[in-house]
Point group: D2
Chain length 342, copies 4
């Protein structure tokens, strides 16, 4: 079977990781990546020996690349001619503009969470609603927080059913190296409900959700504390077992040294993961508890990498590479090296 | 009626504020404050013209004060001879050692939350269990987070009854100017349940509580998101009305500019409050919501000043100045300028 | 002698402090303040009982103030009719637009550092070039960093002459409560030379200056480390004596507890200064040293309040209230309570 | 020629990187690493498949490793029997205690900057005083800031001679993931001169140095601004050429996106460097300038990895693997992939 051909448009924080994630899939071929300027990421691609061919969104700016000796494989149009699916990781709003181009070239596209819902035919999450993405033309992924949150809530929902959740999102406000946004010495609050709660209800309409979003001056991962009301009584241990069996979750213990969001980043750096990335969301064993019959648990969302697996799932869905949800996510997991860690 | 004579031992972050709070009470007399070294606070007291006489815990260190021209009114023993009640605001653990001295001088004492519960006859909160403090010799206040949390939960509890709460505490990790503690670019998590949930159950034994504590690198106030299960159905508006009527709570709106914990500090600085302090806990109107029949609300805890009113209440209780709870807290409020802001 | 009538346009971080600073001057009358919206500062003015009458820049927005019960004294035009000098503290760029209005009303104006130099007839610093402001119509103050830097460099220059300086500015990136700007976990660098070095050469053209500006994620004061080449050899002690004798400088010691920029803020809060403000720049005694014949010293710039005294000096200059530099700054200092602290 | 056998004692932030750095040297063999507890780093070593054998400092704690299935190759004594040189990266003060053990086993040792100078026969820097380390038994490396600083100052010194330097160190106060130290919203100052200036004079006694150290709440690299007085006039371009030709320095431009300390980290993550590490110090092209005849330049110190090359140089020196300085550092550079980037 020939490989599905994909490309990445927008080679930034998400785009670089999508490229690596797609390149690892044995049944996909990453044809190339496209961007507009010789950013730090493009310079690093060059210094790394151009593992992926680079295409330009705007050939009028080719001189800037030539001056630096960065080889250009062609234009975005050239790239789109060669692929089946585009992974669009451009800044919020640009994807919507690119959509016409994708339509013109007859390629499918998967947009990230920054785009408006209307850009896509279906609002997608690999684990929660894989079937809805089958054969669709334009998918939109959930945002990083929502992607991680749904992983955990979907797991409990498939175990005992979830009636409602009330969440507190402690959000990192910038990525490492961002100089265009930030907060100093304050916790910024947003109006309730946060969009993550609303988005979860879009993907999982049978669950009621509300939540508070608090922005904090950190960069290495969001933390979400979830108070979930299950449909049937469930023990802490049963929830933990479910989480441990999930290839995209990693249950750790504070007493082992995982005492912060940054601990996951530190650990992933030690593992030698590229960029210190982790695809899995984290769960602290000591932070799963009962509140009456409700279950409370805290998860860690590695905002830079968490949406990569579900985006790859999206390729499988829209191209109908696998029709079965578990078969699809299982293949994504295998190629990304994601295994349960009981 | 003669005034009740109080003093403050430990003139640090809490002690300075207790001194000011007690001095404002028309029916109390602040006899003096005691400390061990010419700290920044003591130097500022001096530069301000010694509004409160200063006593030394260790007269052997008097030379250091003499060298700076800071007048010393006497020893801690001299001070204790003149008072009815000590407000102990020494570092955690020192209060327990001081207790013998207080006993020797036959004075009552109110300890802060850093001491162990065993130091006191009763674990006290002015609004929630005033009656338990009546006539007692040694009281211990709840910690800053717990004090603020109980204010809000007690208010809802007296309205419709509270069955259980699940809380997420987003804790500021240092006070402004602290150089001996801090975190950088991380969110530290503690094991569930946090001590604040446990302490609340101690004061309000009819409520079940659990909670997660997350330490964040900020200095201007904790935020607690509370998911409360009421005994009777209650509307968001009824909860808000109760909060607005509470003299120690301040309901604000994000859209008016109160969009962070630090906004309260900024506002109190503008009001001309000494040190930019605020005694009230904050509530964001847009962050009170229902989750099924549960009520979710977020409160802001000004950690430096929040325990002052309840500590003053403690003087009223242990000295039996008022036997009625509402009469007592009402007087404290009046002298501190705390009024409902509907 | 009748008092000089001043008003403040733009009641934000600087404007609120200019109002208080002008109101303290025995020979000036603060007629009122003007703003555009019911900001936190305006709400606090209201809760404080309207110590200053409030005028509206845009009477079309009066309904918003009426709805809150905030009394409006009139329009900006009404205000300008009553004053001699405007202290313009509007956001950068707005002052330049307001200038025509000021010209129309025949009032003088003093702009803050955010405006472009062209807005003013003279780029002004009370201590360094008071004489240049005499009788001028439009003055522009130096920025907060430059104002504080020039205070110190001017003092050394008047002592022994300064040939050149090389500075490192460690800049706080936001004010407390700012949610519209910030950095997280990074030190941002700007191209050399920083504008503060260039601006200093504008005010003190006989001194050569260069410098590096590094933005840091803090809010309570900039630190500048200055390496100054004097024209004559000078001892550390002589420099310190000069600084101690300066009413707008405060020499402190790390070993006394002043171990950070925030320590000054903490101390000013204890003094009961409104908002915890300090007009003086700080100098750490243990951070003045020789490097060969160069003198190295570190100063602390309280960014929110530091320009207030020099702006008040500007009123004296442009209105020719005093023709002598030292007489003028001396009066400003006396009314602000600024005295040498040897 | 047989390889020199080395081991690492203390598998923490520095130890993990020393292990990787030594393992890359074609003429050295990393026999193993030793630690005391199943830390995050040891767990990651295990999850990575034990690329390096693990030895235990305290065999009494072996059960904890067995319980986790982490293979233990033997005791620290077993390890020391097999090696020529120990790279000691234990917490400050522990190295001094270990020294007796190293002496007992007749092995040489290289200590890190946290140890006191007395622990070693020579205070060592690969580029600045390689010859002093030849054949010595116990070396101590300079600290991370001093190591990077000396690289740059030594380069200018060898070009035109350096008479004196005055430095401003803007120090990151914690490493990513540290929960035991930190500052929040403040810039802490230390007494002048900082130890880095003093240490530089120890290694380069012909240069006079002083400096200010300011601690800042960030984690991704120190920045040092250097004002150097050269013995001969030198142009900015000549200094830049020297820096560009240095294999352990990386000259970048702010306008290319390297606008902060964290930008280097971000770039190294993109390069796929393990842990996002960079051995080189950074120099911002736009931050090299003249101040009269002085040269001012700002450098970035990647604190986690910067001492690795010089420590490896130390192995070469103490084992007399190369007698020539440039030959030695050149080999270290080659094995670490460090090349000039003009």
């Amino acid at each position: 079977m020939s490989k599905v051909k994909v490309c990445v448009v927008g080679y930034g924080t998400i785009g670089t990781r999508l490229a690596d994630g797609a390149a690892k899939q044995g049944d996909m071929e990453l044809v190339g990546v496209a961007d507009v300027a010789p950013t730090l990421q493009v310079r690093a691609l060059h210094e790394s020996g151009m593992p992926y061919p680079l295409y330009l969104v705007d050939m009028g700016r080719k001189a800037a690349f030539d001056a630096l000796g960065i080889p250009v494989a062609g234009s975005l149009d050239d790239l789109l001619e060669q692929v089946d699916v585009v992974l669009d990781a451009t800044p919020a709003g640009v994807g919507a503009k690119n959509k016409e181009l994708y339509r013109k070239h007859g390629v499918k596209a998967i947009f990230q969470g920054g785009e408006k819902d209307e850009v896509a035919d279906v609002f997608f999450h690999g684990y929660a609603n894989y079937e809805k993405g089958l054969g669709q033309r334009f998918l939109k992924l959930t945002s990083c927080n929502t992607t991680g949150l749904i992983r955990a809530v979907d797991a409990v929902d498939r175990l005992v059913g979830v009636e409602k959740i009330a969440i507190t999102i402690i959000r990192r406000v910038a990525d490492p190296g961002d100089t265009h946004r930030g907060l100093v010495d304050l916790l910024k609050v947003d109006k309730v409900p946060s969009h993550q709660a609303v988005d979860l209800m879009h993907i999982m309409p049978h669950v009621k959700a509300t939540g508070l979003l608090v922005h904090t001056p950190v960069t290495h991962g969001h933390i979400i504390n979830v108070v979930a009301t299950p449909k049937k009584s469930v023990s802490v241990e049963a929830v933990l077992e479910t989480f441990r069996a999930h290839p995209r979750m990693r249950v750790v213990r504070i007493e082992d040294g995982f005492d912060s969001n940054t601990a996951f980043f530190k650990y992933a750096r030690e593992l030698g993961n590229k960029r210190g990335d982790m695809y899995e969301i984290g769960v602290w064993e000591e932070c799963v508890a009962k509140s009456g019959e409700d279950v409370m648990f805290a998860i860690n969302i590695p905002q830079e990498a968490v949406t990569i697996p579900e985006t790859v799932d999206g390729v499988r869905a829209c191209m109908e590479m696998q029709r079965d949800r578990l078969e699809a996510v299982g293949l994504t997991n295998r190629y990304l090296g994601l295994v349960p860690r009981p």
